[in-house]
Amino acid sequence: MRQILLRRLLQAFLMAWSVGTLTFVLVRLLPGDMAYKIAAGRYGDDAVNTAAAQAVALELGLDKPAINQYFAWLWDLVSLDLGDSLVTGAPVIYELQIQLGYSVVLAGWGILIAAAIAFPVGIISGLKANSNWDKTALTTSAFIRSQPVFCLGLLLIFIFAMELNWLPVAGFGGGAYVILPSLTLGLSLAAISNRIIRNATRQAKESAYFHFAQVKGLPFYRAFNRHILPNIAIPTLAFMGIQLIGLVEGVIMIESLFAWPGIGHGLSHAVFARDIPMLQGTALIMGFLFVLVNTMVDISHYLLDPRVRETR
């Protein structure tokens, strides 16, 4: 356990440095004059002009060599200071707190909904492999997964917000607002994970140990709880860990569609406005989250799978 944590900690440090450096280099490589892009982000399309861009360049010291700016950032990072947003002027850490809070709510509900859908659908499909239920689940999953989350979100808006008028279209401010975006996210996640669960269930059901458990006289539900559930939990957990990478992509699209003020939205705007501190901060936090989630997956794996404990 300690080994897992130490390795992940080292990984987190390396990640922080490499993600920050990479964003810095990539933003510098993007075409166009940075000062103008930042001025457009700050003052809006109608007010961006050369005078505004020059004021921005002067204020932020953009004419200084890039390497100086890089080392200044690195020093700030070491002293745990993420800097101020180039567009709003507010501390990055403050903006991240707000955005991250919203994104965590969205992602958390998304994962919960995904689990609530994927587990029952996957397990039933696995137990009744190749039945009509299984085939319907496969077709539906393929249908949902084959379209961008954006379309799925629009479809849900049409059904629940426009036709039935049960839920608000977009925005934030209460429990009702989180349902559609998290349902969109949950459905798109569940579309794949239910198939993983189905395959794991089927494999476990057809395994010798499950047959043996039944032959020795265990009732179905007990054999299921003792021999199938633990065996489907491990691959599913590992898969959901990987799926979180895809979650970032989904979150950006969903947040834009539903006007949800989360980190994905913040990230896309920071790219347009060349807001480097904001970009580095966002990428950094996402990187840390990624390491954190993977650590949690590792730990649960360690706790769930006796084989891992033995080999260590």
């Binding site: 004059d33 709003t88 029952p120 808006i157 279209v169 977009a170 349902i179 006007a259």
Partner: protein
């Protein structure tokens, strides 16, 4: 299996319990638009706070673009237009309860002039409080349209308590009929009525602004009653909303013109015949009716009909004349090659056009222009960029052509814009580029000091006709702003100068 069923039932119950679209509260009007209030700085996001009627300027603007009293009730220049005397409105209070004085006005403007604004901030040499209610501005040069600059959102008057160290804005304290209650940048502004307002107090108690990034989302919000007013709708959203009985769509012409910026330093574009041909090849009616779905907005000049004397009322409606365009290109020495593209001295007639994504119709218009110019043998490559690519390309000289929607409402007196953009070969970031016409340059400089109204109008007509004949920029279509309003809102009107949402004069039907 039972526990799975139980969890599913609980989840469904939760979903349905929460599943009631919240109707807007009875005392709150909810507005949505694409503008992002990124912070409380008036230089950055002042335009959204003036629209929410939280902050106000010394000078106001009516629907026709005439200057009207705002926080100042009276102003007059000396004979040379270099000294301006402003009389302030009495009994005006800031949201923090402090009275507005000449000293607070001077202080507020001094801070504003230290930040970027859509005009030359070094114009004001000196501002002095003569008494409690009088301010005297001394300019570095004569400037006739000076009062119109003081209608710009960057010059809004703020309470001294607004500013912290280094004049950073602590909290925005203005004089408007609404005051900030809660602000979550860049998504949401909540405002509540200011009871000590100098004018008629607002009827609606609370107003909320929600940033709705996509036109589709905003259209759905007004359709489902989640928002009362939505701004900046695209043509497809308008046509779907116009059949809805609970929503009313308003189309208002505004002082903004979609036009093509040209770099006249290019050998091809320096020839007026080529510019004429490019203009004649445009099917403006097709763009207006097919893309924008608003007939009659074809632009035959830079300034639309809302711009007073600056609009040439007698100019004919432009029509596409491909044969005449081809003839002009032949005359200019550009002859069609085997590949359908025109060449002169083995150089193809090829141009780059940049445009930007924030106004969704621009890219569609650009591709239509690409096709229309191809019909006369011009090869146009369209590139999608950030809006800042236009001033940036102007500055470093790399821009060839750009399709842009130029805002003329920022400074309501067009003379301010004309003096900035059309009086030197350098041109303006959002104006002409490498264009020279000494008659226009001197005519405009005369206007800055002209005292006789009839002579003023005569010179304006001469200048605008000369520009129209020379085509340093090719006008395409005048802008029409589309907004949708829910049936419960009474007294809605749209400010063509986009300075105010006019919430304080609206009512909500109970």
């Amino acid at each position: 299996m039972n526990s799975v069923k139980r969890w599913l039932t609980i989840l469904m119950a939760c979903l349905f319990a929460a599943a009631c679209a919240p109707a807007p509260p009875e005392n709150t009007i909810i507005i949505s638009g694409p503008f992002e209030p990124v912070n409380q700085d008036t230089a950055t996001a002042g335009y959204i706070f003036t629209r929410m009627q939280i902050i106000e300027t010394l000078v106001d603007v009516d629907d026709e673009g005439n200057l009207t009293p705002g926080l100042a009730i009276n102003w007059h220049p000396d004979e040379s237009f270099t000294q301006w005397h402003f009389e302030l409105r009495p009994d005006v209070y800031f949201h923090d309860g402090q009275p507005m004085t000449a000293q607070s006005v001077v202080n507020s403007l001094r801070v504003a002039m230290g930040k970027p604004a859509p005009f030359n901030t070094r114009l004001i040499k000196h501002a002095e409080a003569l008494s409690e209610r009088e301010v005297l501005f001394t300019l570095t040069e004569p400037f006739r349209p000076f009062p119109s600059l003081l209608s710009n959102y960057t010059t809004a008057i703020l309470s001294p308590a607004t500013f912290g160290t280094f004049n950073r804005i602590k909290s925005l304290i203005g004089t408007g009929p609404y005051q900030i209650e809660d602000f979550e940048p860049p998504h949401n502004i909540k405002a509540r009525r200011f009871d000590n307002y100098w004018g008629e107090p607002a009827t609606i108690e609370k107003a909320e602004y929600i940033t709705g990034h996509r036109s589709e989302t905003r259209a759905l919000m007004v359709r489902t009653g989640q928002a009362d007013i939505v701004y900046n709708l695209d043509p497809s959203a308008v046509s779907s909303l116009s059949t809805n009985p609970d929503v009313k769509v308003f189309s208002t012409p505004i002082p903004r013109t979609t036009q093509i910026k040209l770099n006249l330093a290019l050998p091809s574009l320096s020839d007026p015949k080529v510019r004429q041909a490019l203009s004649l090849a445009l099917d403006r009616t097709g763009i207006a009716e097919g893309i924008l779905r608003v007939p009659g907005v074809e632009a035959n000049q830079l300034f639309g009909p809302t711009m007073g004397v600056w609009h040439l009322a007698t100019a004919p409606t432009p029509t596409q004349q491909l044969d005449r365009a081809r003839q002009l290109l032949d005359d200019a020495g550009w002859h069609e090659g085997d590949d359908g593209i025109r060449y002169r001295n083995h150089h193809p007639l090829e141009l780059e056009m940049i445009t930007y994504a924030n106004r969704p119709e621009l890219i569609v218009i650009a591709t239509a222009i690409q096709d229309q110019w191809a019909q006369i043998g011009v090869n146009l490559n369209v590139e999608m960029e950030n809006a800042s690519a236009i001033p940036s390309g102007h500055h470093d000289g790399t821009l060839q052509t750009a399709l842009m929607a130029r805002n003329y409402a920022n400074i309501p007196d067009p003379l301010g814009i004309m003096l900035a953009d059309f009086t030197s070969e350098q041109g303006g970031d959002w104006g002409p580029m490498n264009w020279s016409n000494p008659d226009v340059f001197s005519g405009l400089n005369e206007l800055a000091e002209e005292t006789d109204d009839a002579a003023y109008q005569r010179t304006v007509t001469q200048v605008m006709t000369a520009i129209q004949n020379d085509l340093p920029l090719i006008p395409v279509v005048f802008y029409v702003q589309q907004s949708a309003v829910s049936a419960r809102v009474k007294g809605f009107s749209f400010d063509p100068y986009e300075r105010s949402f006019r919430i304080s004069t609206m009512q909500l039907e109970q």
